[in-house]
Amino acid sequence: MRSDIFFVSCLVVGGIVFAAALALGNDYYFFAGYVVLQYIVLSTAWNILGGYCGYVNFGSAAFFALGAYTTVAMHRLHPMPIPVDVVFGGVVSGVVGFGMGYLTLRLRGAFFAIATLALAVVLQTLIVNWDYVGGSRGAYIVRPESFAPFGSYIKYLFMIMMLLAVGAITVARLIERSRLGYGFATIRDDELAAEASGVPTLRLKLIATTISGALMGMAGAPFPYYIGFLQPSSAFGLEYAVNSIAMPLIGGTTSWVGPLIGAILLGSLQQIATVTISSAVNLLIVGFLLVGFVIAAPNGIIGLVHKYIQHKPVGQVGRRRVEADSPEAAP
């Protein structure tokens, strides 16, 4: 399926989901749905670096928080419409992602993961000590009660996150089927052999860290409006880092579909647990599921499906074709 048709199809599905939530007549579904959609963006963004390239990023919460705090800073400076905040959040997080990639170019495996964790700690310390955005006290963002034509403001936020999720999935799918996607796969498999095949691995890693960081920042940008009161402990929450990793791992990391399935499954389970038991069990659920999948299905749900179909290699979901002179074949 062509990318533009895929994008429109996703928009149609998004519209149906929105209409279904509207038909249920309870704003709670929009609150819960927003979180699931937010995790779709986060896990898809994580997967571009972690799944496609094999570089495990433990600092997802930092990029998410950067987006959120960019919105707070913008709000203090001059309140802007949320879509503009999303763009700014994406740019700031993308630049930081590029910087992180540049500083960690030579690191791999556990060393890279520790470096991303360190980045999150450093950024949280900076935010805690930056009074302009509320510092350790936190910052209030008073959101309007309603927003035309959506009615309640949460419906508007839901729609924004829906568009972001559609955008993130489309970008991930586009990458996967492009020359860039092949390059990322070679980095994941064997960097030395990739270089010997002419793949500019360092440049590609920078592209991956930038895109991944930018998407995470975009996911975080509307968050202050969603939560109303933003403090470092909520923006840099452990659940963002853990879920961003767990969702693609459970769904499957070699395709755009994996993070989507993982985020819907795990995000929905967590929302159900939050209202039926307690939000405190959310990370426990993630832990149990993660251990279960590592043992029973190390390649995630997608891997399980492929195991039974056995038609195509695990690294290929759908037919991968690429035009050497296509726009996405930039590097």
């Binding site: 020359r179 092949y182 390059g183 796969a185 070679t186 994941r188 498999d189 064997d190 030395l192 052999a193 990739a194 270089e195 010997a196 095949s197 002419g198 793949v199 500019p200 691995t201 360092l202 070699t254 195509k312 290699p313 695990v314 690294g315 290929q316 991968r320 074709r321 690429v322 035009e323 050497a324 002179d325 074949a329």
Partner: protein, 244 residues
């Protein structure tokens, strides 16, 4: 400077260990050069320095008239330097056809070659796999391959980069007599197409039948360079490498 590959006084150290000491070598276009030496003599280090996987501390490498010092491995590949690895390093999650697609996408297309459309690349991938006899397994993963097929995949991937010079690093290690012949046939065919080949190998029978010229490394030093039959009779070579 007339050679395709010109190495001048190349030196490489690992801490206090001298891996390569003042290596000078000139390889002419179309030549078939055998590079031999005992384990630890620096053969693979030399290949790594030429390909940019390692950086030499002394001396220089010129390829096709360009100074390569400071160039990354992928830049050297794009200039026409290809290699195979001592232990095959396929892209494990990609099918065979996608393994050979990578150099076409990142080297040939990046050079501005004729392959611009997806179907051209698909056809070229299929041709390459057919040349090495792996077309029937085009959609398989590398884990389904035998040892000799893995070596053939390495060669196909190197050929996909349309190299001017191929360094085959122990491409026949662990193969049977008939499998060695298969690889030699492939290398000879490639050489017949104008590709210069440096064969790094321990199987003397293969080296002697393939090489027009033999270079011997011992303890990081080049002790002989010349016509194969003369080189193997060199007393220093016999003492150091052939155990006589």
């Amino acid at each position: 400077m007339t050679g395709l590959l010109e190495i001048n006084s190349l030196g490489k150290r690992f801490g206090g260990f001298v891996a390569l000491e003042s290596i000078s070598l000139s390889v002419q276009p179309g030549e078939r050069v055998g590079l031999i030496g005992p384990n630890g003599s620096g053969k693979s280090t030399l290949v790594n320095c030429i390909c940019g996987t390692l950086h030499n501390e002394a001396g220089s490498v010129h390829f096709d008239g360009h100074l390569l010092d400071g160039a990354t491995a992928h830049q050297r590949t794009r200039r026409g330097l290809a290699r195979t690895f001592q232990l095959p390093r396929p892209f494990a999650s990609l099918s065979l056809i996608d393994n050979v697609r990578i150099p076409l996408l990142y080297t040939v297309a990046a050079r501005g070659g004729a392959l611009r459309a997806a179907h051209d690349i698909d056809e070229r991938c299929a041709d390459l796999l057919r040349e090495v006899g792996l077309d029937a397994k085009a959609r398989h993963l590398p884990r389904d391959l035998t040892q000799v097929e893995m070596r053939k995949l390495e060669l196909a991937r190197a050929m996909a980069a349309e190299p001017k010079l191929l360094m085959a690093d122990e491409s026949m290690a662990g193969l049977t007599h008939s499998e060695v012949e298969e690889i030699l046939t492939l290398l000879n065919r490639l050489n017949g197409q104008g590709v210069t080949i440096i064969l790094i190998e321990h199987i003397m029978r293969a080296v002697m039948s393939f090489s027009q010229r033999l270079v011997v490394l011992v303890s990081g030093r080049m002790i002989a360079d010349g016509e194969p039959n003369e080189v193997v009779r060199n007393p220093e070579v016999e003492r150091a490498y052939l155990g006589q």
